[in-house]
């Protein structure tokens, strides 16, 4: 009951922020939402389905550049570019997922790693479309229907709205049969197949959906930042996404938000602490985080909650007592069962 109130309360809080925060902070929080969508995409693939990807920067870039090119070259209304980017990435992800079926664990990580490395170079190569190293500059859209919002505020609300929609979709997908199938494939692939789950189809589809989410995030990032350039979409971005889902918590929807907050703000705090070696601080924080919360923030919270519930001392009392083991018969000699 307490948890049911938490979500609406958070949404109300989030809706109030644009009127309280400075433009820059608002921009940062908008990026947190964008990152959260990307992280949820990756989490569906890696956390729930067990397919490790170090290549999601590629889908992020695909989404971002799809949006940027459509707006810049063909003057497509920006709102339309988002679903198009998502759809394109869905197909791309699905197609990539097919050869990826043969690879597991380390090998999939390597293949996606190689993909990430290639992205900036490919983007620079197709200069005519992508604007090469200079990238593409966009302008921030104004709020529609004459709403009294600044562009930053409008982007914030739009991103928040899309985030809520996508999170709701994911929650429903993962709670039902599809979600169970996806997790079953991660934990017991052979058993899943034996039970009639078409693992190949599900794995490819999961790749597609994961890419679609990350692609939408990429498209949003292009609008929010109003600029795309190849070097932003490198392997380090993919690694950052991975850090985000592990720190936030694998196989968790709320973990995407925690992770997004982490990857957005911790590097900045690290810089505040040490101008000279900020990444050393960041690395240190990462390591400490893994010591204290190896299951990520969401995972640790989940564990703590579960322990609280079954704790005889602290937990809530529910109905019948937990069954006690009855005392065993001592030295029973020759008593037939």
């Amino acid at each position: 009951m307490n948890r049911r109130l938490a979500l609406p309360a958070l949404i109300v809080l989030a809706a109030a922020l644009p009127f309280v925060l400075s433009n820059f902070r608002l921009f940062q929080f908008t990026l947190v939402f964008v990152n959260a969508i990307a992280l949820l995409g990756l989490n569906v693939l890696t956390g729930y389905n067990g397919q490790i990807s170090l290549g999601h920067a590629a889908f992020y870039a695909l989404g971002a550049y799809t949006s940027a090119i459509m707006i810049d070259k063909w003057s497509v209304p920006y709102a339309l570019t988002i679903p198009v980017a998502g759809l394109l990435c869905l197909v791309a992800g699905f197609l990539f997922g097919i050869p990826a079926l043969r690879l597991e664990g380390l090998y999939l990580a390597l293949a996606t790693f190689a993909l990430s490395l290639a992205v900036p170079q490919i983007l620079k190569y197709f200069e005519h479309w992508t604007g090469g190293s200079q990238g593409i500059v966009l302008s921030k859209p104004d709020a529609p229907f004459g709403l009294p919002l600044t562009p930053d505020q409008w982007l914030y609300f739009m991103t928040l709205g899309i985030l809520l929609l996508l999170f709701w979709l994911a929650a429903n997908l993962l709670a039902g049969r599809t979600g169970r199938a996806i997790v079953a494939i991660r934990d017991h692939p052979t058993a899943a197949q034996a039970m009639g789950i078409d693992t190949a189809l599900y794995k490819s589809l999961t790749f597609g959906v994961s890419a679609a989410y990350t692609g939408v995030a990429g498209a949003l990032s292009a609008l929010v930042i109003a600029f795309v350039a190849p070097d932003a979409f490198d392997v380090f971005l993919s690694i950052t996404f991975l850090v985000g889902i592990v720190v936030g918590g694998l196989a968790s929807i709320s973990g995407a938000i925690f992770g997004a907050l982490f990857i957005q703000f911790v590097p900045i705090w690290a810089q505040d602490i040490s101008k000279a070696a900020p990444w050393a601080i960041y690395g240190g924080v990462l390591i400490l985080f893994m010591y204290v919360m190896p299951l990520g923030i969401a995972g640790t919270l989940r564990l703590a909650w579960a322990r609280y519930r079954i704790s005889p001392k602290w937990g809530p009392r529910h109905g019948p007592q937990t069954p006690q083991r009855s005392a065993a018969p001592r030295q029973s000699r020759g008593a037939p069962r």
Partner: protein
């Protein structure tokens, strides 16, 4: 034809370095199922330590061996102090720790030594060497020799000593190893120490060629991944052979294929990785994984 042999020898030299780093990666992967993304930066940091010694006037080979000793101890210490607290955590969590380590090493090196490139001396004379009709660089020959000696010593250690045997056992089957009294935790630490030592050799041998800076090992690490992928992540020998093949291929492609400029040089590594993974993921010498039901 002379150019061909030159490039092959040069390729073997860089290949030896790729292979060494790949060997370090495979050693740790075999024992722990974790890829140590910080391996390259550990090698870089060791090389900076060597540089400090040389800068202070130490004779080359003294600095060389002292650095190897420090790298070994450092590797052991990192495993016992940094990795041990998470050794039972999910694999991805350990990967994040190695990423944290990577970032710390790079940042601290930049802070202490700045990001300006520094020249690094080679112990081998600068003049070319004549092998039959072919002229090759002395440093290339020297690097190949040093690398091969280190690898040979490592091989002998693992094959013929009791400690080496215990380390192999601990990597293959930690549970049974405990049942014969092997302190598996310390075997792991020794593995990290040796991997760090091998990485230091690679760093010291490659620094004269690519110059010393905190991001020196980035590209080399990627080539090491390609080498380990080609040779097989489950085969230490394969990693070395993979490195040699990758080194030679990189040089030959760079020489004979026109449109591969330095920008797309990385493409060779990527292409190798993707091709191997498509055709035979376990690599040339690796064993395919058996799926337990």
């Amino acid at each position: 034809m002379d150019i061909f042999f030159q490039q092959v020898v040069s390729g073997l030299a860089t290949g030896g370095i790729y292979g060494s780093l790949a060997l370090a990666l495979v050693m740790i992967y075999q024992a722990t199922d974790v890829v140590n993304y910080a391996q390259g930066n550990m090698a870089m940091f060791s090389t900076y330590i060597a540089w400090s010694m040389l800068d202070a006037g130490w004779p080359y080979w003294l600095a060389f061996f002292a650095t190897l000793a420090i790298a070994f101890v450092g590797g052991v210490a990192i495993e016992r102090i940094v990795i041990r607290p998470v050794e039972n955590a999910p694999i991805l969590s350990i990967v994040i720790v190695s990423i944290g380590l990577l970032v710390i090493l790079s940042s601290v090196a930049g802070w202490i030594y700045t990001y300006t490139q520094k020249p690094f001396p080679s112990p081998f004379p600068n003049r070319p060497v004549k092998l039959g009709n072919v002229i090759v660089g002395a440093h290339d020959i020297g690097a190949i020799t040093v690398t091969l000696i280190v690898l040979l010593l490592l091989y002998l250690f693992f094959r013929y000593t009791t400690l080496g045997l215990a380390m192999r056992a601990a990597a293959q089957n930690p549970v049974s190893s405990r049942l014969v009294g092997i302190r598996v935790g310390w075997m792991l630490a020794l593995g990290w120490g040796l991997a760090a030592l091998v990485g230091a050799v690679a760093g010291i041998m490659v620094a004269p060629v690519v110059f010393l800076d905190p991001n020196m090992m980035g590209g080399i690490l990627i080539y090491a991944f390609a080498s380990a992928t080609l040779g097989g992540f489950t085969s230490p020998g394969g990693a070395v052979v993979g490195g040699l093949i990758v080194g030679v291929t990189e040089n030959l492609v760079g020489t004979y294929v026109r449109f591969i400029g330095t920008e797309l040089k990385l493409t060779v590594a990527l292409a190798i990785i993707l091709i191997v993974l498509m055709v035979k993921p376990s690599g040339l010498f690796g064993r395919g994984t058996v799926h337990r039901v």
